[in-house]
């Protein structure tokens, strides 16, 4: 049986948005991060091309509270008539406030490199007997020191966390929360390094006792 290299972290912040794609241009958040968002949070701490992060589950550790959040955009991506009128584009969104999550994932050898790993990675692989094991060690070291490639975010880049690190003893799983999501975006780029966009959704995603287990990886229909 292949050894599993498990990694985990806790993240919290004042605001989060895990955008439901069906909410169009007035984005609404899922109660918990998507598979790809969890992957991105781990990869913000440490990204190695030769290793794939496979999110397993998330525990919701704060009540789910929605709040409206608006921003004005006054830049060149506005439509011509908005520019002519000098009007801003207002983005209205429904975000979560004071969220807290415990995230779990497994580091495994990346079989989706599509032959596009860098020379630097190939050289590193030649010196490493187990890339996932090395990843796990480096990840835990970085998490403990508070180091990262960039500050992970809670959905949008401006929703910065107020804590990223090891599990805090005072944190409790919000066990009262139960919900079934008929559909949840899983990934936009499921095919690995420098691949084309391919939208993959999970169906009938259960959140029971504050815990969401991501479906094992299967090739879902688009």
């Amino acid at each position: 049986m292949t050894k599993k290299y498990e990694i985990q972290l806790e993240i919290s912040g004042p605001t989060a948005i895990w955008t439901r794609p069906d909410s169009g241009d007035c984005p609404v958040s899922y109660p918990a991060p998507t598979y790809s968002a969890v992957k991105g949070i781990f990869e913000a701490i440490l990204f190695i091309q030769a290793v794939e992060i496979v999110p397993c589950k998330v525990e919701i550790c704060a009540p789910i509270v929605y709040h409206t959040y608006n921003t004005n955009y006054g830049g060149p991506l506005r439509k011509s008539d908005q520019i002519n009128k000098g009007a801003s584009y207002q983005l209205l969104s429904s975000v979560l406030v004071n969220p807290c999550y415990r995230l779990y994932a497994v580091a495994q050898s990346n079989v989706k490199t599509n032959g596009r790993v860098s020379e630097k990675t190939l050289a590193w692989l030649s010196r490493t007997t187990s890339a996932p094991h090395a990843y796990q060690e480096m990840f835990n070291r970085r998490l403990k020191r508070g180091q990262n490639h960039y500050i992970p975010c809670l959905g949008w880049k401006e929703f910065t966390p107020d804590y990223v690190g090891a599990f805090r003893p005072e944190t409790r799983v919000y066990t009262d929360f139960n919900m079934t999501l008929s559909s949840m975006l899983r990934q936009v780029f499921p095919d690995g390094l420098r691949s084309e966009a391919r939208y993959v959704f999970d169906q009938d995603v259960d959140i029971r006792g504050g815990e969401l287990k991501y479906h094992p990886e299967v090739d879902h229909a688009q």
Binding site: Y73, G75, P76, L77, E158
Partner: protein
């Protein structure tokens, strides 16, 4: 001149007195407030002020800083400009995005520093659109109290009148201390084209962000402190969140009640020794 960008963790301590630091368009421009009563300032709002100061090339802030730093104004154009005119952008920018977007990156200061969505259109997916500087949401330490006043308005607010009353035209926070974190992530710099000079300009603009953009709605919103903690290496020499926690003011009495003045808070004047040895921490406001 220093050419290396070091990782940095920042914290703005913003004091609001009888002002609206950031109106909520969904609630008729009331100051933004969360369900727990605390006030919000969006990062978009703060970044707008920095952009406006950098864009006003005739203004005293740009005049002074550009002379001091010997900046070429052609390299500090604002992409997300209020002065966009029809046809100004789409064609011109498309051209600037050709050949790896080098002309684009060299021209737009806010594109380099805050990131941009235009690079998506460059069809060069190797060119990242993420910026180097990441501002977070500004949150008040305690709940805020909002007051609403009626204004007299010289411009006609009723049909057929040349002047009148603007009911609830002035909505403001009596007093609040807001904390807004920001982060400098050098890992993104080589992709967005951001340089150490861009970061230096940001550091010099921050103290003027509110003082030089005052308005009727914001007569007193100002920075008490603008902490800037530079790490010893690009990865970071300690936890960003430990730095922010250590520099955040604490309310002396019940934190669930609104404050009346700055004296209601205990505000750190420096980092504790264990953290101070790991970063170089300065107050950009210099008080």
């Amino acid at each position: 001149m220093n050419t290396e960008i070091k990782r940095a963790t920042g914290l703005l301590i913003i004091e609001v007195i009888n002002s609206n630091p950031n109106g909520d368009p969904d609630r008729e421009s009331d100051p933004r407030q969360r369900p727990d009563g605390r006030g919000e300032i969006s990062p978009v709002s703060f970044k707008r002020k920095l952009r406006d100061l950098a864009e006003d090339k005739e203004g005293p802030v740009w005049q002074q800083l550009s002379q001091q730093m010997k900046l070429d104004q052609k390299e500090f154009v604002i992409l997300e400009s209020r002065d966009t005119k029809k046809g100004d952008y789409k064609g011109a920018i498309k051209k600037e995005l050709e050949d790896g977007a080098s002309a684009f990156k060299q021209k737009y200061w806010d594109g380099r520093i805050f990131g941009n969505t235009f690079l998506e259109e460059a069809m060069d997916k190797g060119t990242i659109k993420t910026g180097v500087v990441q501002f977070g949401l500004g949150l008040s330490i305690s709940p805020i109290e909002i007051e609403r006043h009626t204004n007299t308005n010289k411009a006609g607010v009723e049909e057929g009148k040349t002047a009148g009353m603007a009911p609830m035209g002035y909505r403001f926070v009596q007093h609040g201390i807001y904390c807004m974190p920001f982060f400098v992530n050098p890992s993104m710099a080589h992709k967005s084209g951001c340089t150490a000079v861009d970061i230096d300009l940001l550091k010099k603009l921050i103290p003027h962000a509110y003082a030089h953009t005052r308005s009727h709605a914001r007569p007193f919103v100002d920075l008490r402190h603008a902490w800037y903690c530079e790490h010893n290496n690009p990865l970071g020499s300690c936890s960003d969140f430990a730095l922010i926690d250590a520099l955040r003011p604490k309310k002396k009495d019940d934190p669930s009640t609104s404050s009346k003045s700055w004296d209601d808070y205990d505000a750190p004047a420096e980092l504790p020794a264990d953290l101070a040895s790991k970063v170089v921490c300065i107050d950009l406001v210099g008080r």
